[in-house]
Symmetry: C2
């Protein structure tokens, strides 16, 4: 084991430090966030900061850096109140990653990357047709993280589209079966292999695989 002190970390070259700290906090789900501006111009951006906030009401969070390529996404959400969350699968991973390039505002990442947008049920934000797990979300709360001027955006889930067979009897959605990709750091993508599900933990019993 090697110890990296805070001084070591602060003295890393900037790019090295960004990669090191981004990968340290672990694996995260790769998602494409679909939005449209007030004129209907679509935007698509890959995020790995989707966070479960609560089940009742069904809430998710997104950490957004207001001065990065994520800025168009944030502006569109604040202007229109809605966005879509589309899990990334391996079949369109390169196109999903390419949405992180800094395209000018007038270019839609759907057109630039060849991903297909579609609109459902008069919902204002575009979905990614290629994705097999899609969520319609509505902005609820914007929280400033003053420690580093990032934003936690809280949204409620309006509806969900996914293949019924990946939902198990108890409500568990098997995202491995859906092919949802995880990301470690800024650019490293991975599939997942199930170990198993463990029984609900109680003080006097040992957990077992279901």
């Amino acid at each position: 084991m090697t110890t990296y002190s805070r001084e070591d970390i602060d003295n890393f070259p900037q790019r090295y430090r960004t990669i090191f700290i981004n990968s340290l906090s672990g694996f995260r789900t790769a998602c494409l966030i679909g939005t449209a501006d007030k004129n209907g111009q679509s935007n698509l951006a890959i995020f790995n900061s989707l966070t479960h906030i609560g089940a009742h009401p069904p809430l998710v969070g997104l950490i957004i850096r207001p001065h990065s390529a994520e800025r168009h996404t944030l502006e569109n959400i604040l202007d229109t109140n809605v966005f879509t969350i589309n899990h990334v699968q391996e079949s369109f991973l390169k196109k999903a990653h390419q949405t992180s390039a800094r395209y000018p505002r007038e270019i839609s990442e759907f057109e630039a990357t060849g991903l297909n947008e579609y609109y459902a049920d008069a919902f204002y934000a575009p979905f990614v047709a290629e994705s097999t797990v899609r969520i319609a979300a509505k902005h609820l709360q914007t929280i400033d993280i003053t420690a580093n001027n990032t934003i936690l955006l809280i949204a409620e889930i309006i509806w969900v589209e996914l293949p019924h067979p990946i939902v198990r009897n108890d409500g568990y959605i098997d995202l491995g079966a859906a092919g949802t990709i995880v990301c470690n750091g800024l650019d490293s993508y991975h599939t997942t292999q199930p170990i198993g599900r463990l029984t609900y933990a109680k003080p006097d019993t040992e957990p077992k695989y279901l």
Copy 2:
């Protein structure tokens, strides 16, 4: 594809809905959070809400439900200001999962599960000896998520311990090589398989695997 409307979701039985929504937002890194109370009594709890907040300064976030088994962890962090983050590997996964049982305050989950605690450099919170990726963290900010009365706790990274060989030349920490486990929902654990790292995206070039 099946559509689950918000009405469908709200009408799910409570446990079904909790499992469904928890698994929907994706894979997350399984971590053990180590704390001690003011009397030095240790506590250990599994979390899957670790979130990257920023690299400079190095910040992480944790979503905490104040009325759950996570309560002792929250109280200890607010009382002592420090905690440890210990990635979970498959070799001690059952013990890690078992920390989610509701033990009374006077019982340490280290003792109850057989995981080994150790203290480093006079840091007040205990580390998990079995873990191969360990982070010392200091509480910086507590943010109320009023939408559902949960808390986002922001912390800065004080130091990091991990095996040097998993750090690549550009600072990337290969958590797959470390064996860090991901969790989907409340109880489903997975290993990861690398697809590859993609080059930094620019508007006029196609991303390639490194």
